[in-house]
C-alpha cells in the first residue's frame, strides 16, 4: 500500500527509543530530552501538593456554586407577565386620542331604548331555550321509563355513558356556504409569541 499507516510509524519510533539501553526511561514530563542530565529536580512531593490544592480549590468552587444555586432556588419564582394585561406604552400617547363630537340627546335616547329592546329579546330567547331544554329532558325521561317497562337489559344499556361522544366536534355556522372550487390564497404565519420559562 502507498500510505503507511500511522500506527506502523509509531511502533517504529518506539523501537528506536529502546536502542540506547543506557538512557533512563523517560518517566515524567519534567525530563525534556532523553540523553540530557536531569535539569530540574523532579520533586515528587510537588505534583501531589498541586493536586491537593487543586482538589481543595475545586471543591470550594463547587460548594460556592451549590450555595448560589440553593439561594436562587429558595427565592420565589418570577411571575410570568401576562402579555394581554399590559398595554404597551406606545398606545398611551396623547396623539392617539380621538376627537369626536359629543353624543346628541337623540342618539343617547335611541341607545337606551335599543338596549331595553335587546334586553327583552334576550330574555325571551333565554326563556324559550330553557323551556325547550326542559321538554327535551322530560321526553327523554319518559322514553327511558317506557324502555324500563319493556326490558331491564336494554334500559341498562341505554343508561350507560357514551365514551365516544366527547370531545364532540362540529364545524361552526358560516354566513355563506362554501364556494365550490374556491382556492384560498396561500399565506405564511410566523408565530412571534414570547415563551417564558420559570
Amino acid at each position: 500500500s502507498k500510505s503507511v499507516s500511522p500506527r506502523a510509524l509509531c511502533s517504529f519510533f518506539f523501537f528506536s527509543s529502546w536502542l540506547p539501553q543506557a538512557v533512563p526511561f523517560r518517566g515524567s514530563h519534567w525530563q525534556t530530552s532523553l540523553l540530557a542530565f536531569r535539569a530540574s529536580l523532579p520533586v515528587r512531593a510537588q505534583p501531589k501538593k498541586k493536586k491537593k490544592v487543586d482538589v481543595r480549590r475545586e471543591q470550594a468552587q463547587k460548594d460556592r456554586m451549590k450555595k448560589k444555586i440553593k439561594k436562587l432556588e429558595k427565592a420565589a419564582p418570577e411571575m410570568i407577565p401576562i402579555e394581554d394585561f399590559i398595554t404597551p406604552l406606545k398606545y398611551s400617547d396623547s396623539n392617539r386620542v380621538r376627537s369626536l363630537p359629543p353624543l346628541s340627546f337623540e342618539e343617547s335616547e335611541r341607545r337606551v331604548l335599543l338596549m331595553k329592546k335587546w334586553c327583552l329579546f334576550k330574555q325571551k330567547q333565554d326563556k324559550a331555550e330553557k323551556k325547550a331544554i326542559q321538554t327535551l329532558v322530560e321526553a327523554q325521561q319518559e322514553a327511558l321509563k317506557e324502555l324500563r317497562l319493556e326490558s331491564e337489559e336494554l334500559y341498562q344499556a341505554a343508561i350507560r355513558r357514551d365514551e365516544g361522544l366527547f370531545p364532540f366536534q362540529r364545524d361552526g355556522p358560516n354566513y355563506t356556504p362554501p364556494l365550490p372550487g374556491y382556492d384560498a390564497p396561500e399565506g405564511k404565519c410566523i408565530d412571534i409569541t414570547k415563551v417564558y420559562t420559570q
Partner: protein
C-alpha cells in the same frame, strides 16, 4: 368601527400623517423634502386596494337552487336550519311518511338498531355521530284489533338523534320516497299524534 372607546391605530395614524404631508406639500407648492423619484405607498392607497379586492369577491348565495325550486329531496336546501330525513315506509298495510325506523332484533342494543336503520336507508359507509346511548323520545301506538295478539298489543318506537358529518351522500342507496325537511315542514307529512311526540325532542 368602534370609534368611541378606542384610540387611533397604527394604520390610522399613518393615514393622518400622510394626509398632513400632502396638505403641506400642496400649500407650500413644490416644497419637496423627499426626492420625487421615490414612490411611497400611502395608507389611503392600501385601503382602496383592499376595498377593490372585497368588491371583487363574490360569496356563494345563501338561497340555493333547491330552495327556489322547492326540491325537498336535496340536502342543499334551507342552509340555515337543520334538516331531518323522512322516508315512506310500509307499516302494516299503510304507506306512511316516517322518520326512518327498523324493527329491533333481540340481541342488539337500541342504539345499534338505530344505526342499522340509518345504514339501510343511507348506505353502509355513512359518517354520522349518534348522540348518546339513551333514546330521546318515544311514540307508542296500538295495533288495529285485527292484528292484535295476546302479547303484542302495540308497538313502541324509540327515537335517537344523530348528526350527519359529511354531506356527501353519493353512495347512498336511497329509494325514491325520501325527503329532507325542516322542523316546520314536518307537519306536512307526519300524522298528528306522531308529530306531537316528535316535536318534543326536536330543537329548531
Amino acid at each position: 368601527i368602534e370609534l368611541e372607546k378606542s384610540h387611533y391605530s397604527d394604520h390610522e395614524i399613518r393615514k393622518l400623517e400622510e394626509e398632513e404631508q400632502l396638505r403641506r406639500r400642496k400649500e407650500s407648492l413644490y416644497d419637496d423634502d423627499e426626492a420625487p423619484g421615490k414612490t411611497v405607498i400611502m395608507a389611503q392607497d392600501l385601503e382602496d386596494k383592499w376595498e377593490q379586492k372585497l368588491l371583487r369577491f363574490e360569496a356563494a348565495p345563501r338561497i340555493t337552487d333547491a330552495d327556489k325550486n322547492n326540491d325537498r329531496t336535496s340536502l342543499n336546501r334551507k342552509l340555515d336550519s337543520n334538516l331531518m330525513l323522512l322516508v315512506k315506509q310500509k307499516i302494516g298495510n299503510q304507506e306512511l311518511w316516517l322518520l326512518p325506523q327498523a324493527e329491533w332484533q333481540p340481541g342488539e342494543t337500541l342504539r345499534s338498531t338505530a344505526e342499522r336503520a340509518m345504514a339501510t336507508f343511507l348506505g353502509d359507509h355513512i359518517q354520522a355521530k349518534t348522540l348518546g346511548n339513551a333514546p330521546y323520545g318515544i311514540y307508542k301506538y296500538k295495533f288495529p284489533r285485527a292484528i292484535r295478539t295476546e302479547d303484542n298489543v302495540g308497538a313502541k318506537v324509540f327515537f335517537f338523534k344523530a348528526f350527519l358529518q359529511s354531506s356527501d351522500l353519493s353512495q347512498a342507496e336511497l329509494k325514491e320516497d325520501y325527503l329532507w325537511v325542516t322542523k316546520d315542514e314536518l307537519g306536512d307529512y307526519l300524522k298528528l299524534e306522531y308529530l306531537k311526540k316528535v316535536n318534543r325532542f326536536l330543537l329548531d
